[in-house]
């Protein structure tokens, strides 16, 4: 029996090779079809729609025009864009600082308890997103716990309005994006060679700012990428925690599509958002490349 199989096996492998070519295609075709069909093609179509006129009853017209973009590059909308970018930037900075603190702790101070801490970091992430936002609405409410603490410490008056406010939005954003910031920074810091730190200590220099921080830079840049780009598209947090008073791009797009039914203009705004996100990503990748000295070693 065994000898039969031994003489058969090489033949089978050789004959199977053309068959493998087709089966490979079969393996990747559905994913490609789905992604090209539902992401790439629609996006090309969005660009087309952004250049279209508005048809009757909120449909898409057949003309070609730059009016949508011209309408966007007016003061009101540019203000919204600026506000969104600024909010994302603020959020990124806060997340990077807090993320670095936690990432440093996890990489150097947590020791054997590290998996537990990482799990604790991710567990809130698994609780429903809206539940977490609801929790913050309660916590930051005028008679809630945080306000009471602040009042006891005489930092704020008895009926301070913590929510809705810009600060509350930043707290909510930090809460949502912190894991995305901590994990890349932690991964980056873990690759720091301990012998380098030892050597620096022996030479008597302050190891942290001169050695650890620069070596951890790729992780920090990756964290910036994972926080800045997605945060440009948020629209739930500002509504629930910010009272929806100051409009940002996410809300604008939702409003245009679902309430005003102005699809061409909404499409133009989406394209602008996409371009900005792409610019941010390119900037981050370039920063990663220069920090690494090699070809962006993330994926």
């Amino acid at each position: 029996m065994a000898t039969d199989v031994a003489t058969e096996a090489p033949l089978r492998v050789r004959r199977a090779r053309p068959e493998r070519h087709w089966s490979t295609l079969l393996l990747i075709a559905p994913s490609i079809a789905l992604l090209v069909g539902f992401v790439v093609v629609p996006f090309v179509y969005v660009v087309r729609v952004s250049l279209a006129t508005q048809g009757p009853f909120g449909s898409i017209g057949t003309g070609w025009t730059l009016a949508n973009y011209r309408q966007f590059f007016q003061t009101t909308y540019l203000q919204i864009l600026g506000h969104s970018v600024w909010l994302s930037f603020e959020n990124t900075v806060i997340c990077l600082v807090v993320g670095y603190i936690v990432g440093y702790f996890l990489a150097f101070r947590a020791g054997r308890a590290t998996p537990v801490f990482v799990l604790l970091l991710i567990v809130p992430f698994w609780a429903s997103f809206l539940v977490r936002m609801s929790a913050w609405m309660i916590l930051l409410s005028p008679h809630g716990i945080v306000a009471s603490i602040l009042h006891t410490l005489h930092v704020a008056s008895s009926s301070v309005q913590l929510v809705p406010s810009n600060g509350a939005v930043l707290v909510g954003l930090l809460y949502v994006f912190l894991p995305s910031a901590v994990l890349p920074i932690y991964a980056g810091l873990r690759t720091v060679d301990p012998s380098l730190v030892e050597a620096a200590k022996d030479l008597g220099c302050g190891t942290h700012w001169r050695v650890i921080l620069p070596l951890g830079r790729p992780g920090i840049v990756a964290a910036a990428l994972f926080v800045f780009a997605p945060s440009l598209g948020v629209f739930v947090i500002p509504v629930l925690l910010g009272g929806g008073k100051s409009l940002i791009i996410g809300n604008l797009i939702v409003t245009l599509y679902l309430e005003f039914r102005n699809m061409p203009f909404g499409a133009a705004v989406s394209v602008v958002l996409f371009v900005i996100v792409m610019l941010g990503i390119v900037a981050c990748l370039r920063a990663m490349r220069s920090a690494d000295g090699s070809e962006g070693g993330l994926f």
Partner: protein
């Protein structure tokens, strides 16, 4: 280097370390406190949700009788299960192809698979909606499920890529040498080995889909409101203790799901030695 200077540097380093540890502690309290708050306040008798008035399961009973909630839950479960299944299958196929087969355009395929991760979900959702409108597709279960697959696919693919990279080629070759046909190798060797990762990927995909707001906002139809969308509309009117009760239940279920996945994977790894 002088002794005082070295001691000063050491002191500074020690202070910095303490700062990091304490600050991290504060951050963790910040992360976990809201969950505790939600659970605690779900048992609060009053409806203001600010000041604790007394223990009561009233809101759980209200939740139980809320028909809209049940309908939304049904929608979310169906969409989640369908999207997670498809995404897991597709992710496994793609991951296996990338791990075991050589084909041109690998980098492009890789980029394509990861694109939904990098692009803000709102851009994805808008594009998909515009496309659906153009081809006059009805908005409902189909649009929701496809949209959710798009959102979840990068995650399942990443998990399965990690899993397939851990597959030993020797096992497949050994099976082939023992006389298994390529199909048998797949069914009897590869799939069972990948099953724990597929299960984990399914759970993750389901959780992401169940929690999804952005995509659902754009592509849901009349009568197919998902649970997060319903909760969001309730929250826009103000804090609702019913939401807290729902939240507590969701946290409990999520924890159970994740623990079972973790325990299952651990036992499988232990059995394999």
């Amino acid at each position: 280097m002088s002794r005082t200077r070295r001691r000063w540097t050491q002191l500074r380093a020690g202070a910095l370390d303490t700062f990091f540890s304490v600050a991290t502690g504060v951050v963790y309290v910040f992360l976990l406190a809201p969950i505790v708050i939600v659970v605690v306040y779900s048992f609060d008798r009053s409806s203001t949700g600010f000041i604790w008035t007394g223990f009561s399961t009233h809101w759980y009973r209200t939740l139980f009788h809320d028909g809209q909630m049940w309908q939304a839950l049904r929608v979310s479960l169906v969409v989640g299960a369908a999207a997670a299944t498809c995404a897991t299958v597709l992710g496994t196929m793609s991951a296996y192809a990338m791990a075991r087969r050589r084909f041109r355009g690998r980098a492009l395929f890789n980029a394509l698979l990861l694109m939904p991760l990098v692009v803000p979900e709102i851009v994805l959702a808008v594009a998909f909606l515009v496309f659906l409108v153009r081809v006059r597709a009805p908005l409902g279960y189909f649009s929701l499920i496809c949209g959710h697959i798009l959102v979840v696919l990068p995650f399942t693919t990443l998990i399965m890529v990690a899993a397939t990279s851990g597959l030993h080629r020797d096992l497949e070759e050994a099976a082939a040498d023992l006389g298994a046909s390529p199909r048998q190798v797949v069914i009897r060797v590869i799939v069972p080995l990948l099953l724990p990762a597929m299960f984990a990927s399914f759970v993750l995909a389901f959780l992401f889909s169940f929690d999804d707001i952005v995509m659902s906002t754009f592509v849901n139809g009349v009568g197919t409101t998902t649970l997060p969308l319903l909760v969001y509309s309730m929250l826009k009117l103000g804090v609702s203790p019913e939401v807290n009760a729902l939240g507590t239940l969701l946290v409990a279920v999520t924890l159970v799901l994740l623990l079972t996945t973790g325990v299952r994977q651990a036992t499988v790894m232990l059995k394999r030695g």
